[in-house]
């Protein structure tokens, strides 16, 4: 089964994939950095990593990475609808990743909204979105790691997929 992760990656897809991986790595790292653990566990003592103990810096970079990801997701979704759907089909594991990512994005958007001046959420709802954002992110990262090891991609050629499915 040939997937987009295999030999058929175009130059554009390769570049976008790199941007996606970099943005995911940035948001994951700075996301964990929202917890006060990098100083405690000497990460910020590593030369060049002092910024990781600056909560304002990690928060800003987390927002920046999230902006890039939001742009990429919007591009991928519309590109799939307009062009990709004719040639490719989402794999079952892609649906799993999309559901988990949707959880991260929705709770993340709610958290950004909550941080705006004059926007207040109830304490219970704030705790819920904070913990579910972290939960979705951890499950996504674990799932993505397993799927990478299993060499399961996002897309498969539409015709081939139908044949394979039979």
């Amino acid at each position: 089964m040939k997937t987009l992760n295999g030999t058929r990656l175009t130059a554009e897809n390769k570049a976008l994939r790199r941007v996606f991986i970099l943005a995911m790595a940035l948001t994951a790292f700075t996301g964990f950095g929202q917890m006060p653990i990098f100083k405690r566990y000497y990460i910020s003592d590593i030369p060049g990593m002092a910024w990781s103990a600056d909560f304002y810096a990690t928060h800003f970079l987390h927002y920046l990475g999230a902006s890039v990801l939001l742009g990429l997701f919007a591009y991928f979704i519309l590109d799939y609808i307009l062009t990709g759907k004719k040639h490719f089909q989402l794999t079952p594991t892609a649906y799993l990743r999309i559901i988990l990512m949707a959880g991260i994005v929705i709770t993340g958007i709610l958290r950004v909204f909550k941080n705006m001046p004059d926007v207040l959420f109830s304490p219970a709802f704030t705790v819920f979105i904070d913990i579910s954002h972290l939960g979705f992110a951890m499950v996504y990262l674990f799932t993505a790691l397993v799927l990478v090891l299993m060499k399961r991609g996002w897309l498969v050629e539409a015709d081939r997929y139908r044949v394979d499915s039979v």
Binding site: P36, F55, L70, A74, F76, V112, N115, V119, A124
Partner: protein
């Protein structure tokens, strides 16, 4: 006490807060709930404070049930750089902020109208309008109420001290050996609970005044809708040719000080350090993130525009090749 702003409008606001508190028991965004509660601000007139400490004592008395009762010995924490913060044997300390002292009196010997004078001023949490402690708390343990109070929920707080780190005045104070972290991974995560002034949210929800305001014999503090408090602060400022602190600091707070001398002078004269906040100007800590959050809306639009452009360019190309 002059009830013009404080009592009448305060009780009106307090009843509305009580109503909102009932509604807020549901886990849903308050932003979508119907509520007309205004942010309450406090006015601290530095001229009136005689430094008697009645507010400090009253704060300790009414908030005693909220104070930490840590279990000892404390669990060993790793790595070794994690320090225990224990104030449980120093509960009487009242010359700085501690987990058992949420308000204290600062002294400043300054020149007022050519005469040397010692001014005193109560210091506690400023209750910022856009509080970084609440915005950046990773667990939602710190949060702001619609009436302008910023609270730390001691049931959820893990004592990571991030709120203290990001607070422009480093107000919250940690007590080790208490709270949720003891039930999770006490050796490897968390370090107690953070404590600070909650502006007597529970008294306010019953229509009562915060204890420090209630007992003050000199009516140093007033509480009321923030815009009215600001109006009064500006009127005093104009009358005495004075200075204001808290209106614009950190993007605006709900604690407004009025002083007959510049706050730079007061800041130079006060004792500063851990648990003793300064009186420096503070830029809006959350401004950069708030601007980026607004810009975030553009990202998905740009992504969709790029995908649409790719589609139309592709369609044009294929039409061109068909024509040939």
């Amino acid at each position: 006490m002059d009830g013009k702003i404080s009592r009448r409008s305060f009780i009106k606001g307090g009843l509305a807060v009580a109503g909102a508190a009932v509604a807020s028991s549901l886990p849903m965004p308050e932003a979508v709930k119907a509520s007309s509660v205004e942010e309450l601000g406090t006015l601290i007139d530095v001229r009136k404070c005689i430094g008697c400490g009645a507010c400090v004592e009253a704060c300790k008395d009414v908030n005693e049930p909220k104070f930490p009762e840590p279990k000892k010995p404390f669990p060993k924490m790793y790595p070794n750089r994690v320090k225990v913060s224990d104030w449980s044997d120093k509960r009487d300390v009242d010359d700085r902020l501690t987990p058992y002292n949420w308000l204290y009196i600062q002294e400043a010997t300054v020149t007022v109208n050519g005469k040397e004078e010692t001014l005193t001023l109560p210091r506690r949490c400023m209750h910022c309008q856009n509080p970084p402690c609440a915005d950046l708390c990773p667990w939602g343990a710190a949060y702001k109420l619609k009436n302008g109070i910023t609270r730390i929920n001691s049931d959820y707080c893990l004592g990571g001290s991030k709120c203290k780190n990001v607070c422009p005045w480093h107000i919250p104070q940690r007590q080790t050996g208490v709270g949720l972290y003891l039930d999770l991974l006490p050796a490897f995560a968390g370090n107690g609970v953070m404590y600070k002034c909650d502006r007597c949210y529970n008294r306010i929800s019953k229509g009562k005044l915060p204890a420090c305001i209630d007992v003050c014999p000199e009516d140093v503090q007033k509480i009321g809708p923030r815009d009215e408090i600001l109006k009064e602060a500006h009127a005093i400022q104009k009358e005495i040719g004075g200075y204001i602190y808290g209106e614009k600091e950190n993007g605006g707070t709900n604690t407004i000080y009025v002083s007959p001398v510049p706050f730079e002078d007061l800041n130079r004269a006060i004792s500063k350090g851990p648990g003793r906040p300064n009186l420096k100007p503070k830029k809006d800590s959350m401004a950069q993130a708030d601007n980026l959050a607004k810009a975030m809306v553009i990202a998905p639009i740009a992504g969709m525009a790029a995908a649409a452009a790719k589609f139309f360019v592709g369609a044009k190309k294929s039409m061109g090749s068909e024509d040939k």
